[in-house]
């Protein structure tokens, strides 16, 4: 054999070995492409470490020991819509344009929900007192920036992706895989959850109860008649200047004369409930045009027979969009919601379904709130088990909100320093620990289906801190001369900044962390020029950091972020000028969030909503755990985005500012 022949043979052998090696590595690579990300809203590092140290979270501990655990840098401000949008886009609020739960219309200063807004309907024709839309209308996701799973699907057509209940994704962005929307999804009335309560024993201040409606009823011959108020009749033409009429469905409750049992009759359905019992989901149709079936709005509710005698009290959940026949886009593809329903039964579709407002409004007590939150959680578990059972490879993201909503409400039970704490609550002092154990049980389910090549990540969007005191930010701005009050005698009255003299106002607060400069050319009645803005922002920030609570001498605000310095991206221009970073224990007061200007600066928070995270980002990091070693120091939410893409060999796009954590 000649020398050249031998060389050729050697090359062929090398090529074959190289090809096999490539094939092996490729198979190995494909086998590793099973990535499971669990989003646990508000999971707090201090509490997690405490419960891990107590041996209560064996699966979290195992994950932390096997791979790694670290606090996770949150967003500025640490509000869920902002934080999850950082994760979704791999950027910051300058990228995605979500700065707070509440934004404002600069033209009229009215508040708006930041995540989604209704689009105006198109033209319509009128006939016999009804209007028939010819198109347009619907809901619009207000988040900008490309979702990371859009990038993943574009770059890797072979990867299957499922995104379950991701916040800030309503309506869900179009994709090849499956997505169910989460936080930001409204109830059938278009709001963020409004319960109905029919009672002979209304709670105090029931006429102004927030997040629901209380109806006083009068039983007659052991029967109670009620009306369930549905969505606005979009086909009905409002007469003159009257509001658009609402759809409604009558129901009857027949009480057993001797036993604590009642029968609810509604739209031909009969539901028998014992006192203290919850019904299953009951489908309701709200007819908009009589005798036409195709115009109905499809909802569903659960009834809770709180008490029958001596007082009658019936709670009805906010009317959910029926996932078996959704009238608004809660899933993509649209068949995905009915598919889940078929597999696990009907479920809460609104975002943040734990009825915190029923507890705050004294319609629920703490025990009842935990039962209702338990119903929400059980539905999440069933959905999660369903997704795990069919998860073979690709990316699965699944979100749990229980850890967040329960922390908001139950903190006062374990914190004896809290102004809202009462000794009776000690019974629930460990309830939050039990919620963390539930999250550990979810992780256990994930670990069960994971093989050696599956990457599992747990992440939370922010941590938690007590909400002891509310700070009236607009009142402070008024007293410092930045906000002019129109009528000083009416200072405590009115919302939506209705008592503000805009012609003399330089800055105002709306939402939970935001201060806006009343800028000429942007705001409806702006007074501050862009040349004056920077010095004004500087001055207000300095003063914010110097505020002390006279009752205990503590500083109230640990950070005053100038958004031009901490945000980058095309939406920075729309941001509030200052994000207020409260110290742990303090938050914007209830009056501040919707633009009221009460007397004084401080109030004790005695509400059931007793903990929060709308504080300084540095005070409340989230958590990150994975079954892979964590190499990046001080990772943040946007780093998780880049890490997920890297696991599939996809490079970050230009909008992404994160780095690979592994």
């Amino acid at each position: 054999m000649s020398h050249s022949h031998r060389s050729f043979s050697s090359l062929v052998v090398l090529w074959i070995i190289f090809s096999f090696a490539q094939l092996f590595l490729c198979c190995k690579c494909l086998a590793m492409e099973k990535v499971l990300v669990l989003g646990m809203d508000g999971l707090d590092p201090q509490l997690l470490e405490k419960f891990m140290d107590e041996g209560r979270l064996p699966h979290f501990k195992r994950l932390a020991d096997q791979g790694g655990y670290t606090p996770l840098g949150t967003s500025i401000p640490p509000q869920s819509p902002v934080a999850w949008s950082n994760f979704i886009t791999g950027g910051n609020p300058g990228t995605h344009g979500i700065f707070d739960f509440i934004h404002r219309n600069p033209a009229n200063y009215l508040p708006e929900f930041s995540l989604a807004q209704a689009e105006p309907p198109g033209k319509s024709i009128r006939l016999l007192g009804y209007q028939f839309p010819l198109g347009g209308g619907g809901m619009k996701l207000m988040r900008d920036g490309e979702a990371f799973w859009t990038v993943l699907e574009r770059e890797r057509e072979d990867v299957s992706v499922t995104i379950c209940r991701m916040p800030a994704n309503f309506p869900p962005v179009e994709m090849r895989g499956n997505a169910l929307s989460g936080m930001g999804t409204p109830d059938l009335l278009g709001g963020y959850g409004s319960f109905s309560y029919y009672t002979t024993d209304p709670p105090k201040d029931y006429e102004t109860v927030s997040g629901g409606k209380v109806y006083v009823v009068y039983p007659l011959n052991n029967q109670v008649k009620g009306i369930l108020h549905g969505p606005q009749n979009s086909f009905k033409v409002a007469e003159d200047r009257a509001p658009i009429p609402k759809t409604e469905v009558e129901f009857m409750v027949k009480m057993d004369p001797e036993n604590p049992v009642a029968l609810i009759e509604i739209q031909g359905q009969e539901i028998l409930l014992e006192e203290g019992g919850w019904s299953d989901w009951v489908q309701i149709e709200f007819d908009q045009i009589p005798l036409l079936w195709w115009d109905s709005a499809h909802g569903m509710v659960r009834f809770y027979m709180k008490s029958i005698r001596p007082e009658f009290s019936l709670y009805v959940t906010p009317i959910q969009v029926d996932p078996a026949r959704p009238d608004i886009p809660i899933a993509t593809p649209k068949e995905y919601a009915p598919q889940i329903t078929k597999a696990i039964g009907p479920f809460y579709t609104q975002g943040l379904a734990e009825d915190t407002k029923a507890l705050s409004g004294e319609v629920f007590d703490d025990r009842e709130f935990l039962i209702q939150a338990g119903i929400v959680y059980e539905e999440l578990v069933r959905h999660f088990e369903y997704e795990l059972s069919r998860f073979e490879k690709g990316l699965l993201f699944f979100y749990f909100g229980t850890s967040d909503q329960c922390a908001h409400m139950l903190w006062r039970a374990m914190d004896e320093k809290h102004p809202g704490h009462i000794p009776d609550l000690l019974e629930y002092s460990d309830a939050l620990g039990e919620i963390y154990e539930d999250m550990d049980a979810m992780l256990a389910k994930a670990l069960e289906i994971a093989d050696d090549d599956t990457v599992i990540m747990i992440m939370s969007d922010h941590g938690f801190g007590p909400f002891y005191y509310g700070f009236h930010l607009n009142s402070w701005l008024a007293d410092e001369g930045y906000l002019a009050v129109k009528n000083p005698y009416m200072r405590g009255k009115g919302e939506f900044l209705s008592n503000v003299d805009w012609g003399k106002t330089k800055a105002y607060a709306l939402g939970l962390n935001s201060i806006y400069i009343n800028l000429k050319g942007r705001e409806g009645h702006g007074t501050v020029t862009s040349l004056q803005k920077e010095a004004l922002v500087e001055e207000i920030c300095e003063k914010l950091l110097a505020i002390q609570d006279p009752r205990n001498g503590e500083y109230v605000i640990s950070k005053a972020y100038k958004t031009e310095e901490v945000y980058m991206g095309p939406n920075t221009i729309k941001a509030p000028e200052i994000i207020v970073g409260y110290k742990r224990g303090y938050r914007a007061s209830w009056a501040t969030s919707l633009g009221s200007i009460p007397e004084g600066w401080f109030e004790d928070n005695v509400e059931a909503w007793s903990a929060d995270h709308c504080m300084a980002a540095e005070e409340l990091p989230g958590v990150f755990l994975a079954n892979r070693p964590i190499k990046l120091k001080d990772p943040a939410l946007y780093d998780v985005t880049v890490t997920v893409l890297s696991l599939f060999g996809v490079k970050p796009t230009g909008q992404m500012i994160g780095r690979n954590i592994f």
Binding site: F101, I102, N108, L110, P111, E112, F113, P120, P186, D187, G190, G191, Y192, G193, S194, S210, G211, R241, P243, P318, Q350, L352, T356, K357, S360, Q405, H408, K486, N487, P488, Y489, M490, E495, F496, S498, N499, D501, L512, W590, S593, L594, E607, W609, D612, C614
Partner: protein
């Protein structure tokens, strides 16, 4: 200016003057402009303050 003049019933104008003083408006013109703006919003299809409030109140973060 001719274009900005609107005729009002004297009794209605007197009532508007009284209320604008009580409510702290700088002038009756400011009060009437504010009232008109609110009405026009309804016809423009904008949400009423009450509707906005109802929708937002489901959020636990606000009251």
């Amino acid at each position: 200016m001719f274009g900005s003049k609107v005729k009002l019933d004297k009794e209605l104008l007197d009532r508007a003057k009284r209320i604008s003083l009580v409510a702290g408006y700088a002038s009756v013109e400011e009060f009437i402009a504010h009232a008109l703006e609110k009405e026009i919003q309804q016809f423009d299809g904008a949400d009423s303050e009450e509707e906005i409030k109802k929708r937002l109140q489901g959020l636990g973060y606000i009251s």
